[in-house]
Symmetry: none
Subunit: 225 residues, 2 copies
Amino acid sequence: MRLLVIEDEHRIAQALKEGLEQESYAVDVCHDGEDGYNTASADEYDLIILDVMLPGMDGIEVCRKLRAEGNHTPILMLTAKDQNHDIVHGLDAGADDYLPKPFSFEVLLARVRALMRRPNESIGEILKVGELTLNTNTHEVKRSGQSIKLSSKEYSLLEYMLRNKGQVLSKNNIMSHVWDFDANILPNTVEVFVAYVRAKVDKPFKDAELIQTVRGFGYKIGENS
Amino acid sequence: MRLLVIEDEHRIAQALKEGLEQESYAVDVCHDGEDGYNTASADEYDLIILDVMLPGMDGIEVCRKLRAEGNHTPILMLTAKDQNHDIVHGLDAGADDYLPKPFSFEVLLARVRALMRRPNESIGEILKVGELTLNTNTHEVKRSGQSIKLSSKEYSLLEYMLRNKGQVLSKNNIMSHVWDFDANILPNTVEVFVAYVRAKVDKPFKDAELIQTVRGFGYKIGENS
DNA sequence: TAGAACTTTAAAATTAGCTTAAAGAACTGG
DNA sequence: CCAGTTCTTTAAGCTAATTTTAAAGTTCTA
């Protein structure tokens, strides 16, 4: 779990870093709002500990900007004692929690744990065609309940086709979307991989063939012709 | 939104009820732990405001019992001022938040709003996959009742995987969540640590291998393929 | 029915991941 | 503060799986 601490007082920042590292968290530190904001939006953290009072851009502002750009990383805000308006503003700016200074490390840790405890909410996008499903999170591919094991390229090919189901995809199109840029591939490679995927996804099942050849144009995945 | 207030001081309970009703929440009140616990487990509330100090069964106990029976209703705990151990115990018992008395109504309202915003059903602090458990509080890791000793990095890696169980995590993803910022690590380091964790967590146990390699994509922790 | 378009097969080339060993860091107990 | 220990990281060799190519076989259609 990787945390970002945005706190201008070096003494506190250092203490937090050390204490949290003791608890086996990976911790990065920024000392002003600007820097903190940039770091937070550039990298994916699991939690941000954010001081309200910061030189330049303050904590509320940092928080608001991160939320505005769709960043949902949990934020624990450190507020000055008895500054209720900080708390209210902070929470309204999208902070998930606050901790009034001064606080004991033990309490901080409990708050951090509580915030980390949130759901595994990753919304697994599941691509489907007929009885075939592909879970983009777990990379699980199934047909009629039966699990299918694909290699990396096979998976990429199938995923690409499913994301464009019903459409006819030319070999060139497939080549440029499934292989990378500098990948000098022959069209035959696509044919071979289509065959591999068919062998695992279509052949073992009696019902409709999902992957269809459109002679002269390319391939298509879909339920019926 | 329906709230339950469990608070023995009638004056405070009444003030909360009125204030919250003003905000158009439906509010029920209980005056002791027993009654509060029964009410909370009988009916489905959207939020429970729970005083720690209660006659009979105290707030911590109420909280623990509700969580034990799988109730995930967000709980905001009211603690006595400067009783840090209350806070820690409360959070560890599964409370989602706390508010030290005395508090302004404005702050309470902000906390209530924040909790309501939060996705329900936050995961407990014990992470599990099959027979494997990891206690994020004590850092204890067990499989089939047997205690397993992990180093700090090994622990971090396993925790991260468990928090994202079922999902395929690329080496890069793992690198950026388990190691910090300036950590220049090779992907091979991840491979080595996965091997270490496997050696302690999977190898000594005959049953299913929990940590799976998804060739070309990364690693996944989960019960079955 | 000839030729283009696709399929299949099998072998060669490449790569990902595992293992091992050893160097360097960070702790620990005296 | 130092020596021994444990933990973290790198590097290199190995294996097995995947990717790619090439060539021979089929099918379709004009």
